[in-house]
């Protein structure tokens, strides 16, 4: 798991990250991104053409970025490291930001897979 998050290293809490932190982050990353993509392509993309533009797709990617960031932040803070509300743990913020960036990248790849199941967004983000 740490290979996936090779850009992130927190040697002071390595065992917690290794036991729970990385796996929780990865689950959040995949679950949230797949849900957002499915929502965009299979629900909205078969119901209305309103969001079937490159702009609409980007907004959903940005939403996914924010969702992954917030969920990761809360899950790591309260679930993994059991911090109290108001505590500041710098590494969690960095990890959440990194996870959110990964979320956007994953959203792009997931889009390429799920777009075929859509009616209106079939050619978004790219036409092939």
């Amino acid at each position: 798991m740490e290979f996936f998050y090779f850009l992130f290293e927190d040697l002071n809490h390595w065992d917690i990250w290794d036991q729970k932190g990385y796996s929780t982050g990865l689950i959040i990353l995949f679950a949230t991104t797949i849900l957002v993509t499915v929502f965009y392509y299979l629900l909205l993309g078969r119901k209305t053409m309103r969001f079937s533009t490159l702009g609409g797709w980007f907004v959903f990617g940005l939403s996914n970025f924010l969702l992954v960031f917030i969920i990761t932040l809360f899950a790591q803070g309260f679930g993994v490291f059991e911090l109290a509300f108001g505590d500041f743990f710098y590494e969690i913020w960095i990890f959440s930001l990194l996870n959110a960036i990964y979320g956007f990248v994953l959203y792009i790849f997931a889009s390429l897979f799920f777009k075929r199941f859509s009616i209106f967004s079939k050619f978004i983000p790219v036409k092939f």
């Binding site: 053409m49 209106f120 079939k122 036409k127």
Partner: protein, 512 residues
Amino acid sequence: MSKPKLYLFAIGGTGSRVLTSLTMLLATGIKVNAEKIIPMIIDTDIHNGDVEKCRNTIKSYNVIQQAVYGSGVEMGEDQGQFFRTEIQPPKELNISGTDYGTLKEMVSYDTLNANGFSKTKGLFDLFYSEQNKNMQLEKGFLGNPNVGSVVLKNVIESRQFKEFTQDFGQDDRIFIISSIFGGTGAAGFPLLMNVFRDETTTINNGNYINNAIIGGVSVLPYFQVDVEKFNSNESAINSSTFITKTKAALSYYDRNLKKLVNALYFVGDTSQSNYDNFDGGFDQKNPSNFIELVAASSVIDFLDYEPYVSKKNELSDEQSYFEFGLKQNSGTVTLNQLKTDDLKKKLLKFHYFNVYVSNYMDNALKDDKLAWRNELGLSSSYHNEHFAKHLKTFSTMYYYRWLFENSLDKHNRKFTPFDLSIIINSEDLIKDPHGKVPVKISVSEEKLFTLVNGIPAKNNSGIFKKDRIKFDEEFTRLAKEVVDLQYNNKERATLSLLYRGMEKIINDRFQF
């Protein structure tokens, strides 16, 4: 039995204008019981503005029709879709009057001064006034059927007429459009009927033509022209004699024609339009009129008249007469006054189609993310390709103009099925009777619900929801269905998709 071809003789200015309206009706996809329609225009006035307009309208229709259904489409396929019926480019049986000069020159009147011809000359003088004899024939017969009956005889010698007789098949039908109150039409109709029903004829396929089912529409007076111009000798057309001429012609028809025509339609209007008085030529461009649309509908009705019969003696009744009536007498005719729901729906669909083509299609075709465009495999420059351009041309140069002309104030009975406030260059159109200026339209999302006069579209807007008519969304939903039909013809797939989409929208939004 295969479907017949219809040879449609359009005589004079009225004939051409009715043909223009028929083209619009056929563009809506109204079903006709004919393999194709072959218009035969008879007008000595080859520069006549109405003929020119008719020629251009059919040409534009034909380009679209051929691109979509020109090759590999079976007769029964795509019935009812836009532009489905083939209209061949008109054959113009014009015997240009300029070849003859005046009537006097045409009949070599001066030779009648020779000995032994005094009685012939006297008879000729009895039938033709000095004005008739000296009339230049290049602009038609200017309301003088007595002149037309002499000149038009040459039509049957024309190459186009001979081609018609050669091509005529035993199941084919003939229909003649003419006005009864003018010169060319009033003279041409009886003349043609006598040729077609002449049992001793030696023309090609004379037997088939003799036995063919022949119909005709005779348009009674429906407009008047400025009499002052006649009184001041600026024009030779005098509309105050239209009724007298009509009575005389009807009397002639009753005695001589009624046994020759199998289905005769009479249309006319006492609520008449007021036109400028021109002696034919390029300037004679009378605006389209509701009566012409009615006359055009008689062509479609005729093709459904005993459709399984191909010879006159197989008809249950060899002579039938038809008239047309409106539900109520009103100066403004909307779709509500038309009886046939099918026609209403067709007009509606075609109007929304035109609104889409002229107002939305360009942007849609430029959008490389638009699903229906990509599903059909249309290129990013498709909006600039021949077919898309012609669709737009038909819409902006002919369709809207036709609607606009039908709604002009010079008609005492206007045909205003749709709200034409969407036309933003009305002033320019009025100043341009020759039809060179394309119609510009602007339609808001709200306007799409009130395009049809008297019949608003269903609007599901609420406090929290704004309803919209979403053309591209409907097309995208239907795109796969069309792709699965594997047309292998992008134009056919495009038109079919637009037709299906419009049908869905109209069925969802309008109830009859």
